[in-house]
């Protein structure tokens, strides 16, 4: 099981925003929030699968939300209901289970994994607030609104503006690096732990090839296996963090 490139069936696919696609696939695998799959809906080329986070999951199906940015996502976006695709995964560590009142701060496509995470935390009976930034227009508004205790969806501007991070026990963040860096800094000043989910180019997805190595405070880590979720302080330390 697991990496056994399970074949998935497209259950539904919709464009929910400008070049933003919501894809639901039937699969027997069950992910954890913050994990990802390598998707491919083609034979030889492109060579590599595309890492996409879990937006939502329930018995027998997994949902993704992705932006069309290149060849791979273009092919994925053209899938039709009942088309088949390969899912390898779920991979990665996912967000940790933590106690207390939790804040989730997202931006851009970093919002996708936070949706699944908020839902899971809420289902455990925890208080969880979602604060998400969208570039142009909000998409999947209802889904995001239902996922958390309080959801704030913002278009343009900085999600970190006017944020009362001291109201929370833990903060999770995923999105553009300047945003994550700012959130980690605010958490540090407020004295609360932060977790970030980062992106690196990947090949094997399971920790064997070392193309996704991420430099952390405690040495090299594999983004695909040790991550993609890390403690914020492990990644953004001494202004040394460099993403590629």
């Amino acid at each position: 099981m697991g990496v056994e490139g399970t074949e998935g069936n497209v259950l539904s696919i919709q464009e929910v925003g400008e070049e933003i696609v919501h894809l639901t696939v039937a699969t027997p695998t069950t992910p954890k929030p913050g994990q990802f799959y390598l998707l491919r809906a083609w034979q030889e080329a492109p060579l590599l699968g595309r890492p996409i986070s879990v937006f939502d999951y329930s018995e027998g199906k997994v949902e993704f939300v992705f932006k069309v940015v290149g060849k791979g996502t273009e092919i994925l976006a053209k899938l039709k209901v009942n088309d088949k695709l390969q899912l390898q995964g779920p991979f990665g560590n996912g967000f940790p289970e933590v106690e207390g009142k939790i804040l989730l701060v997202g931006g851009g496509l970093g919002n996708a994994p936070l949706h699944a995470t908020a839902k899971a935390l809420k289902a455990r009976g925890q208080e969880v607030d979602l604060r998400l930034g969208f570039a142009e227009k909000v998409y999947l508004e209802e889904e995001f609104n239902q996922a958390a205790t309080i959801t704030q969806l913002m278009v343009g501007g900085l999600v970190t503006d006017g944020l009362n991070i001291r109201d929370y026990d833990v903060v999770f963040t995923c999105g553009p690096h300047p945003m994550m860096e700012a959130v980690v800094k605010m958490a540090r000043e407020a004295g609360i732990p932060s977790y970030v989910s980062i992106e690196k180019r990947m090949a094997c997805g399971i920790g064997a090839c070392l193309v996704c190595t991420c430099k952390t405070k405690s040495g090299n880590k594999k983004t695909c296996k040790d991550g993609p979720v890390f403690e914020g302080e492990e990644i953004f330390y001494e202004d040394k963090y460099q993403i590629s």
């Binding site: 094997c204 090839c209 070392l210």
Partner: protein
């Protein structure tokens, strides 16, 4: 087993070996697959001291391949010998230990420190294009290739396989030099030195400027070089470069390889690679072949 082959004095249950650097120490793939379906594994390239590897982007796709700039990130030979080897030594697989270095002395010391591990084949990597420590300088000239092979030959009793670079003029000459230096076998090809430029930022993609191209894009080049090497030497050859299926394995055997390594294809479709031994068996039945050795070097 039908697909088994003799390689030196060893018996491989099939000619498929995972290529160095693409399969780690086998532990990750073992979580998901029955890795003992393979004939062997060439483990991640080791160096005397631990290495953090290259900074910046490490992988870039091309239409039929990928460039990597991992830069030999590895835990070093001591950590391998004391922590990793004890965990993996009992596998029912041929174990290949791949070693790189920057100077003759670092190679020899690394090999000495691994000597008490009871592994099957030493793969001397004189062909990594991604770091100075990768030893490609040794592998691009016949004289230096012979010198390092001879020195290693005098340092260890292990079966010695020298891994060659495609980034050379006359591969046959270099292979011959390794044979003369005492190599038991040759493996080739390592990655093809390559480059990418990001036109948006007007910058070279890799911090290390050049990177190593692997995958289907390099297969015809690899096949040609295996053929040339087979014509030049008498010692057995392990061929690799872009192999993805049973038919391509057969092509490399026909060109003169006794076994093959597969790397990049694990990133595309690992299931397909683990099916190759069974596919080879079916092919043999269909062709009425009793041993794969019948087709080695027939072209």
């Amino acid at each position: 087993m039908k697909t088994s082959i003799k390689f030196l004095d060893l018996e491989l249950k099939n000619p498929i070996i995972a290529a160095s650097g693409t399969f780690g120490f086998g532990e990750e793939y073992a979580e998901y697959y029955d890795i003992e379906k393979l004939g062997g594994i060439s483990y991640k390239g080791l160096t005397l001291d631990p290495r953090d590897g290259n900074e910046g982007i490490r992988v870039w796709e091309t239409p039929a391949g990928m460039m990597n700039s991992v830069g030999l990130e590895n835990p070093g030979v001591d950590a391998f010998a004391s922590d990793i080897w004890p965990r993996i030594q009992d596998r029912n697989l041929i174990s290949v230990v791949n070693v790189g270095g920057s100077t003759l002395e670092t190679y020899l010391e690394a090999i000495r420190r691994l000597d008490h591990c009871d592994y099957d084949i030493l793969e001397l990597n004189i062909s990594c294009p991604n770091v100075k420590a990768g030893g490609m300088a040794f592998g691009t000239e016949a004289k230096s290739a012979e010198r390092i092979t001879r020195a290693v030959r005098m340092t260890t009793q292990k079966r010695l396989m020298v891994k060659l670079s495609p980034n050379v003029g006359n591969i046959g000459e270099i292979a011959k030099a390794c044979e003369a230096g005492g190599a038991d076998a040759i493996s080739l090809i390592n990655t093809v030195q390559a480059m990418a430029i990001d036109t948006k930022s007007r910058q070279i993609v890799f911090n290390n400027t050049y990177a190593g191209l692997s995958g289907p894009a390099i297969r015809p080049i690899a096949l040609r070089m295996v053929h040339q090497t087979a014509k030049a030497v008498k010692i057995p050859i392990v061929g690799m470069g872009g192999i993805t299926n049973a038919d391509e394995v057969i092509q490399f055997l026909m060109a003169g390889a006794s076994a093959v390594q597969i790397g990049t294809a694990f990133f595309t479709n690992p299931n397909q690679i683990f099916r190759i031994p069974a596919e080879l068996e079916m092919w043999m039945e269909k062709e009425g072949i009793r041993s794969l050795e019948e087709i080695i070097g027939i072209v």
